[in-house]
């Protein structure tokens, strides 16, 4: 297994301190690969991180389109394979309005499944090798982890200046 990099972990109590720090370190090369932790999804963090649009949307779009196409293709192909004339009404393209429902349901179903897959892929989960740097990050604290730097470095000083309540080395 690849060894996970050590570094420093700054713990923040306040959201504004965290976003201040994020703004300052965002584009700096000496903070390359840093990670930010939060107990929930504050929009301030998203804005400070400049993440851009999430790629989950492509998964949703492709899933939903596949669903629409297969939702219409399924009954049509089955109709042409063995036409069922029910109540004097023929199958196939003439019965298309009835297949709108199958098309709609499969659009939602495959769109939803693809969205979930998209979330898992982009969030990089399930992840059996995850490490919990601090259990408080799923409770009430925020954090920034910077790989490959020491506690007495310039980076650590900056994080502390932004209001970190705690700074420690992760080996």
């Amino acid at each position: 297994m690849k060894k996970r990099p050590g570094g420093i972990l700054a713990v923040y109590k306040y959201l504004d301190h965290l976003t201040d720090a994020m703004e300052k370190i965002r584009d700096r090369a000496d903070f390359q690969g840093h990670e930010v932790f939060s107990p929930t999804s504050y929009h301030e963090i998203e804005h400070a991180g400049h993440f851009g649009a999430s790629n989950v949307r492509w998964f949703t779009l492709i899933g939903a389109m596949t669903g629409t196409i297969s939702g219409f293709a399924l009954p049509l192909l089955m109709d042409y394979d063995w036409p069922l004339t029910v109540g004097g009404k023929q199958g196939g393209i003439l019965s298309l309005p009835a297949y709108v429902i199958i098309g709609f349901e499969l659009t939602i179903l495959l769109g939803g499944l693809a969205t979930i897959i998209g979330m898992l892929v982009t969030c990089k989960i399930p992840n059996p090798n995850q490490r919990v740097l601090d259990p408080r990050f799923t409770d009430d604290r925020f954090g920034i982890f910077v790989p490959g730097v020491q506690e007495n470095s310039e980076q650590a000083r900056l994080l502390r200046e932004c209001g970190a309540e705690e700074l420690r080395t992760i080996s």
């Binding site: 306040y14 939060s38 929930t40 349901e105 939602i108 969030c123 399930p126 408080r136 990050f137 799923t138």
Partner: protein
């Protein structure tokens, strides 16, 4: 109602407050759970009896081939409506009160739809043949299913609804399961670690998670409205008087939301007590839920009125005859139960004092559930029993086996729901934190 609930707590109290549920619940919990198990046992025995002896043990006979079992199916699908409505539609509308009730409403949806899905199978009698007439599998004659049949549409609608609701609910749980993982030790830590997929709560994860959650909500919104529309077409696509009307889809959707919201209220009150969640599920949240129920009650009352009016105005004598018989015929008791429970009793909620009276509101919410059950019963039975030709008229009476299956379905629903309450956070912790005051530094909070 104002969304700005005045919290005296901070986000630091959320996990501690809610995860109490993982410790010792109120003794009432165990009593409720044992009652649920007893009901399930009754239902299972009734089903075994039905399979062994045959469908003759139900009250179903010509001309009424849909009875209590299909009523239960429609009822439970309806109950399953409010969950995704509260989760998805109120999420898109940014109604903040949803954040305290969405998790239990979603769980209710999942278990209600699972309960509903049992009934077409129970109703089929020889359940082992179900796969051939429900799913697009070629049978021995190499025929496919008839895609123009509303029953096949319904299979697609219910399956999609169950799948999407389940995924929506579970994705919401993942960050909370990670919170539990970070609090517990030993074997439980391993279990919650696996269940939470190794969620770490990084900003990037939250960013993608939020995007995906939004898309799921956007996909689930038309789904909520469509699923009961499709259920209503099971009836409306036939030519049976009393069923063949275009009002059915919106009428069924409103009814489903009414019963679902009433059930959310019915569940929230005991849960709040059993798991000591009063500080989180506040009277304002309960009142918001009641207001939504009251709104849908008025829509349902309007639908009942319009349905009657059109039956007369259409000039169709069969249609009009059915409606007269519903109100004054052999099934009049069910009709008036439905009207009083769904349209009259909820009127008490126009008074703010009554909305805030938990005992009164609980009684009304339970009565709405009863009324909504009778609504489905009334629609299904009365239209089938007496249609066009007097020579084919009949009468339907629910048999003890069907009643036992109904009781069993309630037991089955509560059995799963209570298990969920014991092992998973009933309130979405990560979403609750979002509606609490933001943890800003003292300087910042003063300044801004």
């Amino acid at each position: 109602m104002s969304d700005d609930v005045k919290w005296t707590k901070t986000i630091s109290d959320v996990n501690d407050g809610i995860l109490v549920t993982l410790e010792k619940p109120h003794p009432l919990f165990w009593v409720a759970w044992l009652i649920a198990i007893a009901c399930v046992a009754l239902g299972v025995s009734a089903w075994v009896y039905e399979i062994t002896v045959g469908m003759g043990v139900t009250g179903l006979n010509s001309p009424v081939y849909w009875g209590t079992l299909i009523t239960n199916f429609v009822f439970w699908v309806g109950i399953g409506h409010a969950g995704t409505l509260i989760s998805a539609i109120l999420f898109l509308f940014r109604a903040k009160w949803r954040n305290t009730v969405n998790r239990s409403a979603e769980a209710m949806t999942v278990f209600a739809v699972i309960t509903a899905a049992l009934f077409p199978l129970i109703h089929a009698g020889r359940v082992w043949f179900a796969a051939y007439w429900l799913l697009p599998l070629p049978n021995t004659n190499n025929l496919w299913v008839n895609f123009r049949s509303p029953l096949v549409w319904d299979v697609f609608a219910i399956t999609t609804y169950l799948t999407i609701s389940l995924l929506f609910w579970y994705m919401g749980l993942v960050p909370d399961l990670a919170s539990i993982r970070d609090r517990v030790k030993g074997f439980r830590r391993l279990v919650y670690g696996i269940l939470s997929f190794g969620w770490r709560g990084t900003a990037r994860q939250w960013h993608n998670y939020e995007a995906g959650y939004g898309f799921l909500a956007a996909l689930a919104t038309p789904l909520v409205l469509s699923v009961h529309s499709v259920v209503s077409w099971d009836f409306a696509m036939s030519i049976q008087p009393g069923w063949h009307t275009t009002i059915f889809p919106p009428y069924f959707v409103a009814g489903a939301i009414l019963s679902g919201c009433a059930m959310v209220y019915t569940l929230l009150i005991p849960i709040r007590k059993m798991f000591r969640l009063e500080p989180f599920i506040t009277p304002q949240h309960l009142e918001a839920c009641i207001k939504l129920t009251l709104l849908t009650s008025t829509i349902v009352a309007y639908a009942y009125g319009i349905e009657f009016f059109i039956a007369w105005y259409s000039g169709n004598e069969y249609e009009w005859a059915i409606f007269q018989k519903r109100a004054a015929g052999p099934y009049a008791f069910y009709f008036w139960t439905m009207v009083f429970c769904n349209c009259v009793f909820p009127l008490i909620w126009w008074s703010k004092r009554m909305r805030n009276n938990v005992a009164v509101s609980m009684v009304v919410a339970v009565l709405i559930n009863v009324g909504m059950w009778f609504e489905r019963y009334n629609i299904i039975i009365s239209s089938l029993a007496e249609d066009f030709i007097p020579g084919s008229w009949g009468h339907y009476q629910s048999s003890p086996v069907e009643m036992a299956l109904t009781v069993g379905s309630f037991g089955w629903f509560f059995f799963w729901f209570l298990i969920f309450c014991k092992f998973f956070p009933i309130i979405s912790m990560s979403e609750l934190k979002l509606i609490m005051p933001k943890p800003l530094s003292p300087k910042k909070s003063k300044g801004g």
